[in-house]
Every structure is written in C-alpha cells, then in structure tokens.
C-alpha cells in the first residue's frame, strides 16, 4: 500500500472537497431548516480554496499534507465549520505524522483524534446533534470491520451505510450545540446539516473508491 498511500489520501481529500463544492445548495438548504443556511456556502468556499491550491499543497508526508489542508480550511472557512473542520484535518495530520504509508489502525487513530479535536473545539459531544453523531459511529464501524478483516472496498460501503443511518437518526435529536440549539425542541424533526453533510461526503468517498481507489 505504501506507494499509493498519498494517492489514496489525495483521492479521499479531493472527493471531500468536490462533494462540498457540488452540494453547496443542498447543504445550505439543510442548514436553513433550523440554522442560518450558510453551511453549504461556507464549506463550498473553503474547499474551493483547497481545490484552487491543490497542486501546491506541501506533500512532504501525509501528516504535513493533512495539516496544511486543515490550515487552508481554518483560514478561509467562516462560521462554525471553519474551526471544526480545520481542527479535524489538523488533528488527523498530527496523528498520521511524517509517514508515507497508513495502516487501517492508523486511520482509526486519525479519525479518533479528529473527533477529539472537534469535541474540544466545539465543547460538544455525541448526542448534541452535530456531525459528531455521524463521525463517531462511522469510526466505530471502521474499527469493527478492520477487526473482522473486511477488505477495503467492503469497508467503505459499510461506512457509507452507517453514515447515512446515523445522519438520518439525528432527526430525532434535540440540538444542544450550534445555531440550531437556540430553537430547542423545535430542532427535533429535521436532520442536522453537518451530520448529513458528512454522510453525503462519505457516500461520495465510497463511490470514488469503488471506481478509482481500488486501482
């Protein structure tokens, strides 16, 4: 895997960025239900920046690459999403470190670090009706599938499924963080924009992986 690890990371990050840009309107509409409607715009503008500077991002090693991506995001995305998503990428990069290869366990550790970073930055936790309510079950599922020895292609399909279910499940929750939290009980009944955003993006990673990643 070592010769293609950076390429695979490239594929994943690029797919995330492209999904954010493509879904600007959809993500904005999700955020408009009980939030302020800017989630799609913020994410799209930030990841547009990532794509614009794509070829020039420092690819000395995977850790550096991810940290640089995190910095572009933090620097350019406003709203809550800039600090949250930027922190996630930076923490993942710090955990990866100066490496050219990644094991499944390392990927799990990187995701755990991202989750911890978001929790600290957002003073939030699972159950607050945020993107954490997708990221955490997805990470758990990844760990379980790796333990079970599932191959990468099937792992990703499994993650996409978990993500979608977890995102749908946020509809039953009451928002305790973010702008949606100001509406209290009224936030129940609609899915969280960030959670669904992550699920859509994981779906796109899965698709991309099936066509390009396995090569």
């Amino acid at each position: 895997m070592s010769s293609t690890a950076q390429q695979q990371v490239d594929l994943v990050v690029r797919t995330i960025a492209q999904a954010a840009v493509d879904n600007e309107k959809y993500f904005g509409d999700l955020d408009a239900v009980v939030g302020d409607g800017d989630f799609g715009y913020s994410l799209a503008r930030g990841f547009e920046n990532v794509l614009d500077g794509w070829d020039d991002v420092d690819r000395t090693d995977i850790g550096t690459f991810l940290k640089k991506i995190g910095m572009v995001i933090t620097a350019r995305i406003g709203g809550t999403s800039g600090p949250i998503w930027g922190t996630a990428f930076m923490r993942a990069g710090m955990t990866a470190g100066a490496t050219d290869s990644l094991t499944g366990d390392q990927v799990v550790a990187m995701l755990r670090a991202a989750v911890e970073g978001i929790k600290a930055r957002g003073q939030s936790d699972v159950g607050d009706k945020t993107l954490l309510d997708v990221l955490v079950p997805v990470t758990d599922r990844l760990e379980a599938e790796l333990t079970a020895g599932t191959d990468a292609t099937h792992v990703l399909a499994a993650l996409a499924e978990t993500a979608r279910e977890a995102a749908d499940a946020t509809a039953d929750m009451v928002a305790k963080r973010g702008r949606a939290s100001y509406t209290g009980e009224r936030s129940r009944g609609s899915v969280d924009a960030g959670a669904m955003g992550v699920a859509v993006i994981i779906g796109r990673i899965n698709e991309a992986w099936q066509t390009e990643g396995a090569s």
Partner: protein, 331 residues
C-alpha cells in the same frame, strides 16, 4: 431573489469597497482580511476596539467604525463568523500597547474563531482580550446550551467601550464597562418575513401570510414560537413583557429604549412600535430617557424589529452620551 447584487460571492467585498469609497478619509479597507478600520487606528493611547461577526447585519458592524465607536470591524461572509485568520490579522493590525478588545456576539462559530485568533495573536506577544455579548432573552440560558445570543443590544456595549477607550481607559476598565452594560441590556426580536441570503437566493424559512416568528434570531434562526399576525401594540406588549421581566427592569428605573429595524421594515413602522413601548414602560413606572429608533443590527432584508432596554445609571448614561462619528449617518 430580487436584490441589488452582482456575484453573490462578492456581496461582502463589494459592500466594503463601496463603504471605503464613500469614506475615503476616515476608513481604511484591507481586502485581504475583509477588514474595515479607522484610518487613524491603532493609537498608542487607546485600547483598540474590534467587533467581529458575520455580515448581513449592516450597519453593524462595518458601518459603525469611527471615532468613539469601533476601531475596526472584522466581518465574515453573510451570517458566517469570520475565519480565524481574519481575526488574527485584524488583532495584529490594531495592536496597541494598551491592548485590543475583541467584542464577540455569543455564537459558537464566532467564539471559536475569536478564541483561536486570540491565541495566535497572544503567541506573538499581543495583549488581546475578548468580551462576549449575549442580550437576547428569546433564548433560554442553560448549561446544556451555548447560552444566549448576542443581538442588537451590542450597539450599547460598543458605544460604551468605544467611549471608555476614547477617553484613554485601560483595557481592564474598558472591559469592566462593557460587561456592566451587557449585564443590564436585554433584547427580543420578531420577524414578519424571512430574509434572503444572496448566496442562497431564496428565503431562509417560510412564514405564512398571517404568521410571525417571535424571538427570531438575527440570522433567521427560528425563535420562541410561531404566532398569528397581530396588531403592532399586541406585538410590542409581548416583546416588552419578555424583556422587562427578564432582568427585571422595575418601577423607578431609567432606561434607554431601542426599536431596531431588521432591514425590510420602514422607519415609520418602527415609530409606531416605539410609541407603544414608551407608553407601556411609563405605565410600569419605567422612564425612557434615551431613545433609539433606526436600523442598528439587521438581518438582511427581513421585515421585523427588535426591542432593547438598557438600564441606565449616571456612568452608563455619560458613556452613551459621548460623541461619536461613524459612516452610517444622514449628513
């Protein structure tokens, strides 16, 4: 969407450019960081006052940068907190030996961006503090939420710290004054229509022909409850009851009363609201000694208004009375 817009992505930069063109001697526009600052700031003798927040609330905050008010405003995109880097760069440009005070409305995104920006600035040896504003009574404060939002009441905090900074107060004293004003300031708003963010191109939420949203946020966030449309007096009475009983304001108090338009409501209607509020306060034994009827903190083109009370004492009254000079003006 029918708005005066070119490219929605350039909405904020073009607005800032217009503002700078209209105020060539007073303002400096720094496009790289979306920054509007006094052209004569920072000053060695003054704490620099900076307010950051999403755009779409004009004249807050870029149009109240000037003598006696803000030294700089650091806006994000429409309804989005500014990216951390803007905060950091703004703090650096406004650095004064007396310190920089960052005023932040209490929203998650804004707080995170400003916390991160402050940390970065401090790591370079700058003296920076944050003061959070949270005047919105529509949101119930509890340990499970992020607390109350900052809305139109921020005008009074800005005015007071601006006056304190202008007379040379130290950072600690400026913060004391700002907290004091924030502590006696309460606001609640009502929306008659939704607003349309330029990038979204359609209304942020749907309100029926006879529905209003009580306690709406300045980003179009839903409020306390959706109600049937009522007369101006009935609406004022409900806003006033929520605001007055919250602090509470009591018989014998002197207050500043602000009726703030949310962007799409003409000033004629604001005075109809003002009339009732002034009269009802008098009936409660509360005397309005300072009045503010205009747009201060809007929500793009939303039709609606908010009502703010500030409990006055001699110190606050003097700070609100101090002279100031800002781009939003008639002459």
């Amino acid at each position: 969407m029918k708005k005066f817009v070119n490219d929605p992505k350039q909405f904020v930069p073009e607005m800032l450019e217009g503002l700078a063109l209209a105020n060539p001697h007073r303002l400096r526009y720094v496009p790289e960081h979306n920054l509007i600052m006094r052209s004569d700031a920072p000053s060695e003798d003054r704490v620099s006052i900076v307010q950051g927040s999403g755009s779409g609330h004009e004249p807050a905050h870029v149009m109240i940068v000037g003598k006696g008010m803000l030294d700089a405003a650091c806006p994000g995109d429409v309804f989005a907190a500014p990216p951390m880097n803007y905060v950091y760069e703004t703090a650096k440009l406004l650095a004064s030996p007396k310190g920089v005070l960052l005023l932040v409305n209490n929203y998650t995104g804004d707080r995170m961006a400003f916390d991160m920006g402050k940390e970065m600035a401090e790591s370079e040896g700058l003296k920076v503090e944050i003061l959070t504003i949270n005047d919105d009574v529509a949101v119930k404060d509890s340990t499970y939420t992020v607390g109350r939002r900052g809305v139109a009441g921020n005008f009074f905090v800005i005015k007071a710290v601006g006056a304190a900074a202008a007379r040379g107060d130290d950072l600690d004293e400026v913060i004391r004054v700002g907290k004091k004003v924030n502590d006696v300031t309460r606001t609640m708003g009502v929306a008659l229509t939704a607003c349309t963010p330029p990038a979204k191109g359609s209304p942020l939420f749907e309100l029926g022909e006879d529905e209003i949203e009580m306690g709406v946020g300045i980003h179009g966030e839903p409020g306390r409850e959706r109600k049937k449309m009522a007369t101006a007096d009935v609406i004022v009475d409900e806003l006033l009851e929520a605001v007055v009983t919250d602090l509470p304001y009591s018989s014998g108090d002197n207050v500043a009363l602000m009726i703030n338009g949310l962007g799409g409501t003409p000033i004629s209607e604001l005075y109809i609201l003002y009339r009732r509020a002034h009269q009802q306060l008098a009936d409660r034994g509360i005397t309005v000694t300072r009045s503010y009827v205009n747009e201060y903190c809007t929500s793009l083109d939303m039709a609606g208004a908010s009502l703010t009370l500030v409990k006055l004492d001699d110190e606050i009254d003097a700070l609100l009375d101090a002279p100031a000079e800002v781009p939003v003006r008639v002459f």
